[in-house]
């Protein structure tokens, strides 16, 4: 290997070259650094600016104001009332134990409340408020407010709570709101659910109309440090109130019907026969939805759940009852359609033998034709005529009048009952249709089960002669209503007979409208829930309340040009004419003459011991006193 001699000259040359390389490398790295800086701050600027903003600004959601529910005239049925609450901002608390002790004293918090607050505080994210108490009286709110300087981290708030002006009268229709449960949160994963004071619809329209009523949450925008300390508040993002939803309900009628039903257990549905608008949707007795919206107390809950009149059950949508004699107008239509002569007579002796069983009528009506059979509600006429008709065809027409039909209504659950027919019996019960099935069906007993909406729809369809569909929302599209596929002469015949029921000495003769020129047509019904013993048959009254017959009534008015139809069931009310018909009479009167209706109500309420609200309050007070007495 040739050994090259390296001189200082060579060395100097090497040094210069190496310095060039080294300097070049430095320049290259410098350029790379500037390029990187440019890439980050120009090309990626938007991305990083967003991330920085994400870091800087935190949102505290503000629950949106819930949309109102108003009736067909704009009368509010569910509104928001401002209320007072107290929250804690964990990050701003200086001496948590001390502050909590003082709050507990000021707001008279229970040990349970304290446990909940402590566990919420542990889970909180520092700047997110934790609820201490809501719906507190103004005095407590003021007491906390004046002591604010000594209570760092405490945030008294004015918020909104749901208020139902009509209370129990609308309970089963509008439902109520409540704090979302952890199951709700797991389903929707909406951070709004964790915000103090936020409520979602739990029942009724509040639940089904939730998407319209909720609105969009606003947000308090705050600047926080990496450790969650509040630096300053930024412009808040305003909330978007929920939509106001207009119902087809007439709040006045709803309220009146609820009051008129008194202490009865039952359901009441009124409809506009032209449009199908539901004007009243009442299930009584009812709970006070305001109690639920504010978190119902244990005593009140106990009282409601122990009541044998089932105030927690929505009887309009979920109660199923035998229709009793209210089926007769539809039966008559079915008979006429099948060509049975309306002049054909049957002699009623008070009992009717079929096979080796004797079926009864409430009395011996003598010989009568179809018109009088409806007017006097003669069962034996319908047994006998029913047996001559084709039960499948009869059942089809009754179905067509609304029996067994499920309606497109925004209510959480609807039970729609049964209307038996030979094919249905075969399919469900696996046996042959028998003659006694026809007998039971022809007076709305046996397997016949309907809900109160169907009852009202039936009255509306007979009254208007149209295939009316019930509606609850003013905003829902109006579909054209086709006429019933029934001979108008048959309809006129039935309407005439129903008019006679009320106005011509029929079963509901005591329920004539007290209004000149307005006649009501109707049909009574008495649905048997218990096989009467021989000793009870005479008075048709069982000894025990819950074994008595259900009283039913359907009606429409004016009889000559129907506008309104009503279906009403009074559970265990006894004879239909005595319990249900007067209620329909008075509510129908309300639709034509409010003053007269109110005048009719006043003495009744006096007799019952006050208005609905007064009686409810008294009952709760009594129950609470009893509860205190037993615990003491």
């Amino acid at each position: 290997m040739k050994h090259q001699r390296i001189t200082p000259f060579h060395q100097s040359l090497t040094f210069s070259r190496r310095m060039m390389v080294f300097g070049g490398a430095q320049a290259a790295i410098g350029a790379a650094l500037i390029a990187r800086l440019g890439w980050l701050s120009v090309a990626e600027n938007q991305h990083y600016a967003l991330l920085a903003e994400d870091n800087r600004v935190k949102l505290i959601l503000v629950p949106p104001r819930r949309g109102w529910l108003v009736d067909r005239h704009g009368v509010p049925m569910a509104i928001n009332r401002s209320d007072f609450s107290v929250n804690l901002i964990p990050q701003q608390m200086e001496n948590p134990e001390q502050t909590l002790r003082e709050l507990a004293q000021l707001l008279s918090l229970t040990a349970d409340d304290m446990d909940r607050i402590l566990s919420d505080l542990k889970q909180s994210r520092g700047f997110q408020p934790v609820e201490v108490a809501e719906n507190i009286p103004y005095e407590q709110y003021a007491a906390v407010t004046v002591r604010l300087p000594e209570l760092p981290g405490v945030q008294p708030m004015r918020g909104f709570s749901r208020f139902y002006p009509d209370g129990p009268a609308v309970a089963h229709l509008v439902g109520y709101v409540g704090t979302p449960t952890s199951a709700d949160y797991d389903r929707d994963k909406d951070p709004l659910y964790l915000t103090p004071g936020f409520k979602i619809g739990k029942q009724g329209l509040e639940k089904t109309l939730e998407p319209y009523l909720r609105g969009t949450p606003g947000a308090q925008r705050i600047e926080v440090t990496a450790r969650g300390k509040l630096v300053k508040e930024l412009d808040p993002k305003p909330d978007g109130s929920g939509q106001t939803v207009q119902l087809t309900i007439d709040a006045g009628l709803q309220q009146y019907a609820a009051r008129r039903m008194g202490d009865n257990s039952g359901a009441f549905v009124a409809m506009d026969v032209e449009s199908g608008d539901i004007l009243a949707f009442v299930s009584m007795p009812a709970f006070d939805p305001n109690s639920f919206s504010q978190g119902i107390g244990r005593t009140e809950w106990k009282m409601l759940s122990e009541d044998d009149h089932l105030p927690l059950l929505n009887k309009v949508a979920q109660g199923l009852y035998p229709s009793g004699s209210t089926i007769k107008p539809s039966m008559a239509l079915a008979f006429l359609k099948q060509g049975i002569d309306p002049k054909r007579t049957v002699t009623c002796t008070g009992s009717y033998r079929y096979g080796n069983h004797i079926f009864h009528c409430d009395k011996a009506h003598g010989t009568l034709a179809m018109h009088d059979a409806i007017k006097h509600s003669c069962d034996i006429f319908f047994y006998d005529t029913g047996l001559r008709a084709n039960p499948e065809e009869t059942s089809d027409l009754v179905n067509y009048m609304g029996y067994g039909e499920k309606f497109d209504l925004p209510i959480p659950s609807q039970r729609y009952g049964t209307m038996p027919s030979p094919s249905w019996i075969e399919q469900k019960i696996h046996r042959q249709w028998q003659g006694y099935d026809t007998i039971n069906m022809s007076i709305g007993q046996g397997y016949v089960l309907i809900n109160p909406i169907q009852l009202a729809v039936m009255a509306a369809r007979i009254g208007s002669g149209n295939l009316v569909q019930p509606r609850l929302l003013m905003g829902s599209p109006r579909k054209p209503i086709p006429p019933l596929a029934v001979d108008p002469q048959h309809l006129a015949f039935v309407r005439d007979a129903m008019t006679a029921v009320v106005n011509d000495g029929g079963t509901a003769a005591a329920s004539k409208l007290p209004i000149d020129g307005v006649l009501m047509a109707g049909k009574t019904g008495t649905a048997q829930v218990h096989k009467l013993g021989a000793d009870e048959r005479g008075g048709r009254t069982a000894k025990q309340w819950n074994l008595r017959d259900h009283a039913l009534f359907i009606g429409f008015a004016p009889a000559d040009k129907p506008r309104y139809a009503i279906g009403c069931i009074i559970e265990h009310g006894g004879f239909g004419a005595s319990a249900a018909a007067p209620i329909v009479r008075d509510t129908m009167t309300y639709l034509f003459d409010k003053d007269k209706a109110m005048a009719a109500l006043a003495p009744l309420e006096q007799q019952w011991g006050g208005t609905l609200a007064e009686r409810n309050a008294r009952e709760l007070e009594q129950f609470k006193a009893a509860a205190r007495a037993t615990t003491a």
């Binding site: 090259q4 001699r5 390296i6 001189t7 200082p8 000259f9 060579h10 060395q11 100097s12 090497t14 040094f15 210069s16 190496r18 310095m19 390389v21 080294f22 300097g23 430095q26 320049a27 790295i29 410098g30 790379a32 650094l33 500037i34 990187r36 800086l37 440019g38 980050l40 701050s41 120009v42 990626e44 600027n45 991305h47 990083y48 600016a49 991330l51 920085a52 903003e53 870091n55 800087r56 600047e223 926080v224 440090t225 990496a226 450790r227 630096v231």
Partner: protein
């Protein structure tokens, strides 16, 4: 240099351009520290100003040192610093914990910082003594490798990866400029490729994590990758003109960790934008350029190599920090000299500049030595 009749000769002889640059950089640093403390000179800006002034005075007085003095002090200095390093290591062993500094009253002495200029001087002296003909032989390599490797290993086990890495880069640069064969670097590179997995195996957990996160910072944006992620957010969100002085949300709201020390560049760029960042980088580039010129114009082999090595020290300081802050290098804990809060980096920077100024003064005052 400023030549004027009014200014006294010794003052006029100072490299004013460099001093202005250094002061400008230090001022940017002080402004940023003032902002990082939430518009307050406490706790950082005032202290830092004092430290900068003290070390600037030391650097300026060092500029009167003679090259011969520096030359003769190179080996003793190296040995002294080496002893201190060993002392730190012993202390760490005794106290059973990582130890990087010796506490002498209020001053924390970090010997590894002194090792940076010391290694430059000792290697420059070594290559100065080495006959030109021996540069391509092993004699040119192993003593230098030993001089460099032992302290680097000591620092590595402190553990202080950043400083060890910088020391090796500085030493390698000096050896490169001294003229040892290209092949060594190629071989060194290859050896590094082989050694990297081995080094990875002996690293501390936190170091390993840092390397892994450097390779993919977004893998752990809230954990160990948090520093780089937040630093990039600060820099990127500043845009071209920045968010305005005292308006950096990342640093003021504490999202950017170490915003006054290692990540001070991110704090600065968030408020001053791309423009501020480029100005600072250019200022450093000018300082480095000045150092390179000192080396190019040097008349002795010692001053050539020493000047280049000292410049390399500044260069690596700045570039490693910036690469780290912008996510181009793992987070190894190298501050940005003169800008980051803390005395060590200022000291190293000023010692290097003081030595460079001294070497530069020789060029102007001595007659050119013929090569």
């Amino acid at each position: 240099m400023i030549s004027s009749a009014i200014i006294p000769q010794p003052l006029a002889k100072l490299p004013w351009r460099l001093i202005f640059l250094v002061l400008a950089i230090a001022c940017i640093g002080l402004l940023t520290l003032y902002s990082a403390a939430g518009a307050s000179i406490h706790p950082w800006a005032l202290k830092q100003a004092i430290v900068v002034l003290i070390f600037l005075s030391i650097a300026l007085s060092m500029s009167w040192l003679k090259e011969s003095t520096i030359k003769s002090a190179a080996f003793p200095l190296y040995v002294g610093v080496f002893m201190l390093l060993v002392a730190v290591e012993m202390l760490g062993f005794v106290s059973k914990g990582a130890q990087r500094w010796l506490e002498l009253g209020p001053i924390k002495l970090q010997p590894s910082e002194f090792m940076k200029p010391a290694i430059v001087l000792v290697l420059a002296r070594f290559y100065d003594l080495l006959p030109p003909s021996a540069i391509k032989s092993w004699r040119a390599i192993w003593p230098a490798a030993l001089l460099l490797g032992v302290p680097a290993a000591l620092i590595m086990i402190q553990p202080d990866m950043g400083t060890a890495l910088m020391l090796i880069l500085i030493g390698a640069s000096v050896m490169f400029i001294a003229g040892i064969p290209w092949g060594i670097f190629a071989g060194g590179g290859a050896a590094l490729a082989v050694a990297a997995p081995l080094a990875f195996a002996v690293m501390h957990d936190y170091q390993r994590k840092r390397v892994l996160i450097f390779l993919n910072p977004e893998s752990d944006p809230l954990g160990a990758g948090y520093h780089v992620t937040q630093s990039k957010i600060a820099i990127g969100s500043g845009g071209i003109f920045g968010k305005g002085y005292l308006n950096g949300s990342q640093s003021h709201l504490d999202y950017l960790p170490e915003g006054h020390t290692d990540f001070v560049f991110a704090t600065m760029v968030e408020e001053w934008g791309l423009i501020g960042g480029v100005v600072l980088i250019v200022a450093f580039a000018l300082v480095i350029h000045w150092g390179m010129k000192v080396s190019m114009n040097a008349r002795t082999r010692f001053s050539q190599i020493a000047a280049a090595g000292l410049t390399a020290t500044i260069f690596f300081y700045v570039s490693i920090n910036l690469m780290m802050v912008m996510g181009l290098a793992p987070v190894v804990g190298v501050p940005l000299p003169l800008v980051s809060y803390g005395g060590s980096a200022v000291m190293t920077m000023m010692l290097s500049l003081g030595l460079l100024m001294s070497l530069e003064r020789q060029q102007r005052t001595q007659s050119r030595v013929l090569v």
